[in-house]
Symmetry: C2
Amino acid sequence: MANAVQSYHHGDLRSALIEAATARLSEYGIDSLSLRKLAEDAGVSRTAPYHHFKDKSALLSAIAAKGFSDWHTAAKRIFEQEDKTPKARFREFVHEYIGYAADNPEMYELMFGRTIWQNQAATNDLKDVAFPCFQFQVTMTRYWQDKGLLPNNQDALRLAQVTWGTLHGIARLLIDGIYADSSHIDEMCDCAADLFMQKQP
Amino acid sequence: MANAVQSYHHGDLRSALIEAATARLSEYGIDSLSLRKLAEDAGVSRTAPYHHFKDKSALLSAIAAKGFSDWHTAAKRIFEQEDKTPKARFREFVHEYIGYAADNPEMYELMFGRTIWQNQAATNDLKDVAFPCFQFQVTMTRYWQDKGLLPNNQDALRLAQVTWGTLHGIARLLIDGIYADSSHIDEMCDCAADLFMQKQP
DNA sequence: AGGCTATGTTGACAGTGTCAAGATAAAACG
DNA sequence: CGTTTTATCTTGACACTGTCAACATAGCCT
């Protein structure tokens, strides 16, 4: 990866850019992520990235797509632990969701933030990865309803939107710096889980 | 207000900047809000704003402070309607919260977004207005607990964080463009309210 | 071998936040 | 009243951004 830098053609600039971007994202944050710096990291000129991505937003979408893919895998892993009770898995999911956001704040911001979703800016490639991820939330909700953990008198889609909204909201309040004190994350997660499962204390 | 433009000294540049910023914010969004354009709107040079605000973030904080003040007033008005039942007021609060966000997406983004809260960037002036607003959420939560609407076996602070998180999450998913279909806002609000008040169907 | 195409380059433009240094007017002070 | 301080505003400059246009290179296909 570090050898063929001298040649005129990079070889795999697209991957190199995504890699550099992911690294810079987690280290310096999305706000100070510039195409020019990424190009420099990859050892190419400022405008080279434009032969692989339509614009900056397209590059960001590509990174986010990777994030969605990873998260979807993680969510499925938690959800499909046969050896644990549905209730335990539900609680674990809540903790893991917030945990993922807290551990990867800039990636979370990118994936679920306005940068790539606003004004229908989302790439089709991104939607293809993200929508199944959203859909999985509904699938899980329906399952938990069937198991009696979540209220059965609510539409699964609405309920999924609300439960996801809760997790998303807590995650954002944390990573955006509004909940300055992040020492009670687990307590908040438990409180949320308890609230959802009010009938099963 | 539009007369003394010719004079060397503006007179009330600070207010003019905030006014111009508020107008531009709701019309063009926070991303395309630049100090230079605001200065032009006010009829002064690019760097004049720096005599009234430390930097761009300070100006944004000032606008947000106004937003918090307004929202706090609105929230109190809803909460203190003596002629309505606590339950009705709770439900109304949920709808109004999401409604405020949906009607003023850019202001909401500014008030509750990372722009002004990240890295302890928040001004003290801002905190002085915002914290009571947050605190009011806890006060209301405790009240609703006392009235038996919300579970009494939870710490009021945690519960307030979770319920607020829910509202915030739904609001953000809507205004950030992730919930592309905004035609079921009211249903989501009712679902959330029902979920919180599970024991009072 | 020759040309097409993917990929890379430099130059340029409009825009941004922000600092430094100088100009002006209003307010404070003797 | 005159003078000096202070608040406010101005121009100039810098480093940085995303992105377009025009040109250069090299690998691939016929």
